[in-house]
């Protein structure tokens, strides 16, 4: 249990990433490697499916998403621990993948990306013959 006493006009700041004059937030991800695919799971709270953009080019997968502002600009904040804005993160994939087979699903602010490996990168089990 963590206790927080709210007082007026007090604020805890968040430390977002700064890029190209705009503030971006780095989503937290889990990456699972299977024999024939990768599964990426990213936390994108406050993001609708239509606000997500996923691109793959030259071995780099780029995830960007827009979290719509949830309060009006004049909101009277009395305590702030996080900011709301666009999410951005790039992944270098050192294993060739099949970009046409990427599948993305967003539910409860949680993005699941299934990224199949290219045929050449899949694990092949070699049968052993007995003589």
């Amino acid at each position: 249990m963590s206790d927080t006493a709210i007082q007026k006009n007090q604020s805890a700041s968040t430390t977002p990433e700064r890029m190209e004059q705009q503030t971006y937030y780095t989503p937290l991800v889990d990456i699972l490697e299977k024999d024939d695919s990768f599964v990426f799971k990213a936390d994108l709270p406050g993001v609708r499916p239509e606000d997500v953009d996923i691109r793959y080019e030259n071995g780099v997968m780029t995830l960007s998403a827009q979290a719509q502002p949830r309060q009006s600009p004049g909101t009277n904040y009395i305590w702030r621990e996080y900011g709301v804005g666009p999410f951005y993160r790039q992944f270098i994939l050192s294993v060739p993948i099949d970009p046409n087979g990427i599948n993305a699903e967003l539910k409860n602010g949680e993005l699941t990306l299934s990224v199949p490996k290219a045929e050449s990168a899949k694990t092949h089990k070699i049968p052993i013959k007995s003589t």
Binding site: M1, T26, V29, I31, D43, Y82, N108, G109
Partner: protein
């Protein structure tokens, strides 16, 4: 940029986001109500409990990230397990009228101020 197979600097950058208490909260007010918002991706309403007593609100629950069978985790940054935050407001909360809503992984709790704590206009009498 993140190499799937590990990057110490990126780990440090990611760890920064959860150096503080989890979940992070934003609080604002509009005169009659206070609002507490928390980012809880991947959590359903069944996993969350909001308790109000006097001038305190407790948001607690559990986030479970099920293990996916048949793979190796290359990176695990997302927090899981039990969480609990207790916030003490500068005024009493009208516990009967508290509302909580979970949308797109964001919990918003509306905490109406008790009658005694609401702002009121004091009529000034002309002498």
């Amino acid at each position: 940029m993140t190499d799937v197979f590990g990057n110490a600097l990126e780990d440090l950058l990611a760890a920064r986001a959860f150096g503080a208490a989890f979940p992070g909260v934003n609080v604002w007010e509009d005169g009659d109500n206070a609002f507490v918002e928390a980012e809880l991706p991947g959590v359903t309403m069944d996993d969350i409990e909001v308790d109000v007593m006097g001038n305190q609100v407790v948001i607690k629950g559990e986030r479970n990230i099920p293990d996916e069978p048949g793979g190796v985790y290359r990176r695990r940054e997302r927090p899981q397990g039990k969480f609990s935050r207790r916030l003490t407001m500068p005024w009493d909360i009208d516990a009967d009228k508290v509302e909580a809503m979970l949308q797109l992984g964001v919990l918003t709790t509306k905490l109406p101020k008790s009658e005694a704590a609401k702002p009121r206009k004091v009529p000034v009498k002309a002498a």
